[in-house]
Symmetry: C2
Subunit: 323 residues, 2 copies
C-alpha cells in the first residue's frame, strides 16, 4: 500500500514521540510511513522517508487563516500527498481545526457530503467502542447534516468494528421524540426514514459509555463537550483512586495486587489505545489524533489508517451518501 503521511511536527510530544511511533509502526505493522515536516525541526527521521516542507501550523494558530496562508506547512503538504496519490492516508496529532481545514481544502469533500464530521470512539470496556459524531467539526448544524453523520457513522462502525447494522442513537435529554431542541426533534423525524441507518431513537448522556448503542449522533458543540467531559471525568476518577490507594503501606500492598487486574481497564480508557478520531466526509482517510499522543498512539493510529484504507472506507462512505 501507499505510505501513511504522518505530520511529524504536530502534537504536544512532537517530533520525538511521533517519529518514534512512526518507526514502530513500520517495524511492527509493516506499514510504510512518510513523515512530513521541516527537516531541521524533525531532526533524526530514524531512517524513514521525509517529505520536507518549510512551515508548521502551531497548536494555537487560528485554523482558518493558518491553512490559507501556510501553503508549505506539514498539514497542507500531508493532505496534498493524499490528494496526489503519494500517500494513502494522513495523520496528525497537531492543531485539530487546521488538520480538518487542510484535509478539506486539499482532498475536498466526498461527492454529496454536506459537511465532514469528526468521529471519535468512546471506550466501552467489554464491548466495541461507541462512535460519537460530530465530536467537534461543526459547532452549529443543519438537520440534514446530522442525518449524513448518522449514515457516515454507520459505515464507519461497520467497517471499523465489524458491526452488521450498527444501532444509531440521537443524543437528547430524554428518550421521547418530543424532548430536546428543535434541531433534535427535526433530526429525530428524519432519522426514522433515513436509508442505511438502524435508528434506535433518542439516547441520553448516560448511554454513551454503554453497549446499548453503537453510534451516537449529535452536533459538534455537544459532541465535543461530551468527549471532553468524559475525558476529564475518567482522568479525575483514576487520579482519585490512585491517591486513595497509596495513602498507607497496607493500601499500597493491596494496590500492587489490584493494579495488574485494572490495567486492561486503564488501557481501554486511554485515548492512545484507540488511535484517534476519524474525519469522515473528506475524500481520503484523515486521522486526527489526540494532542497528547504518545508513540503508542501513533502506532495505533497508523494501524487504523491501514485498516480503513484497505476496507475502502472512503468508497463505502461515498456510496452511503451518494446524492
Amino acid at each position: 500500500m501507499l505510505p501513511v503521511a504522518v505530520d511529524a511536527v504536530g502534537g504536544d510530544k512532537a517530533p520525538k514521540e511521533i517519529v518514534e511511533g512512526a518507526r514502530r509502526a513500520v517495524d511492527e505493522l509493516a506499514v510504510p510511513v512518510l513523515l512530513v515536516g521541516p527537516p531541521d525541526l524533525v531532526g533524526d527521521t530514524r531512517g524513514l522517508d521525509l517529505l520536507a516542507c518549510t512551515e508548521v501550523i502551531a497548536m494555537d494558530d487560528d485554523p482558518g487563516p493558518a491553512v490559507r496562508r501556510k501553503k508549505d506547512s506539514s498539514l497542507i503538504r500531508a493532505a496534498e500527498s493524499v490528494r496526489d496519490g503519494r500517500a494513502s492516508a494522513m495523520l496528525s496529532a497537531g492543531n485539530t481545526g487546521a488538520t480538518m481545514g487542510s484535509a478539506l481544502l486539499r482532498m475536498g469533500r466526498i461527492k454529496g457530503v454536506k459537511r465532514p464530521a469528526i468521529a471519535t470512539p468512546i471506550p466501552v470496556p467489554g464491548s466495541t467502542p461507541t462512535v460519537l459524531l460530530d465530536a467537534g467539526a461543526n459547532s452549529e448544524c443543519q438537520p440534514e447534516w446530522l442525518v449524513q453523520f448518522a449514515q457516515m457513522g454507520s459505515v464507519y462502525a461497520r467497517e471499523r468494528y465489524g458491526l452488521d447494522a450498527p444501532r444509531v442513537g440521537l443524543l437528547s435529554i430524554g428518550e421521547e421524540p418530543t424532548k430536546g431542541t428543535p434541531l433534535v426533534k427535526e433530526v429525530h423525524a428524519l432519522l426514522r426514514d433515513a436509508p442505511g441507518v438502524n435508528f434506535v431513537g433518542n439516547v441520553e448522556g448516560r448511554d454513551v459509555m454503554t453497549d446499548d448503542v453503537d453510534v451516537v449522533v449529535t452536533d459538534g458543540f455537544t459532541g465535543n463537550v461530551v468527549l471532553k467531559t468524559l475525558e476529564g471525568g475518567m482522568r479525575f476518577v483514576q487520579k482519585a483512586i490512585m491517591e486513595a490507594l497509596t495513602a498507607t503501606d497496607e493500601l499500597r500492598a493491596a494496590f500492587d495486587v489490584a493494579w495488574p487486574a485494572l490495567l486492561p481497564l486503564v488501557a481501554e480508557l486511554d485515548p492512545d489505545t484507540h488511535g484517534g478520531a476519524m474525519l469522515l466526509g473528506v475524500d481520503g482517510v484523515c486521522i486526527i489524533s489526540h494532542g497528547s499522543s504518545s508513540a503508542t498512539a501513533i502506532v495505533n493510529a497508523v494501524r487504523v489508517a491501514r485498516e480503513m484504507v484497505e476496507a475502502d472506507l472512503v468508497g463505502h462512505l461515498a456510496a452511503a451518501v451518494a446524492p
Copy 2:
C-alpha cells in the same frame, strides 16, 4: 422554621424510602416535615403530618398538561403550601418537568428572573462541588438568560458552599472567546461586564470535575447532557472496577482492604450525597432530587432545604437579579 413539604409519592422508591427519609430528617436534623400525597398511596406516615390530596403526577406524565390538569396532585399542593406560607420549601424526587412546572405555576418567578434554571452540584472530591446550571430546565436559551444563570449560580455557590467570589466559567469547546456557538460567543461578551459575576472565561467539559471553576454556565440541553454523561461514566467505571477486582480470591482480598479507603470517594460521587438539584429563580426554595433517591438522599435534601431557607437564598437571588 416552617416545615419542608416533601412529595411522598414522587421517585422510583416512593413512598417507602421517601417517608423513611422524611422521618429520619425530623429525627436527625430536627427539621419539621410535611408529607404531601394521597393517604391511601402514602400508607404509614411514620407519625408525620400529611397534606392529603387525591392525584399523583407520574414519572412519565407529560409535564405541561399534567400540572395544568392535576390541580389536586402532590406536586401542585406542595408548591401551594410554600406559596401560602404553610411550608418553607418543597422537595420532590418525582417528575422533574412537573416539579418545575408546579413551582413555576404556584410560586411564580422571582421579580426580574427571565427563566428559572436547574442548578446541580457536580462532585469534586477534595473540593467543593462545581455548580452546573442550567442542567435541564431550558433546552433553548437566550443570551440574557445565561447571564442570569451566572448571577444566580454565583449566589447559590456563595450561600451553599461559602465561596466569597465563586469563579464562573462558560461551557464551550475551547478557551478562546471566538470558539463555540453564536450563543456562547454572545454570552461570553456579556459575562465580562455582568454585575455579581466573577467570570473566568470559557471552560471545557474536562474542567467541570476539577477545582478550577466553581460555577459552570450553559444552556439546559448541553447541561443535561453533561450531567447524564458524567453519571453514566462514573457508574460505568465503578462497575468495571468492581468486576475486575472480584475475579479471583487474591483480588477479592486486595479489594476488601482497598474498599474502605475508596468509600469516601464512592460516597462523594453518589448523587444521593448532595441532596439534589435546586430550581433557582422561582419564588421559594424548590429542590429536585434524583429519581432514584434513597432515604439518605431525602435526609440530605431536607438539610439543604433548611440551609437555603435559613440563608434566605431567595432573597439573595432577588437582590442579584433585581431589574
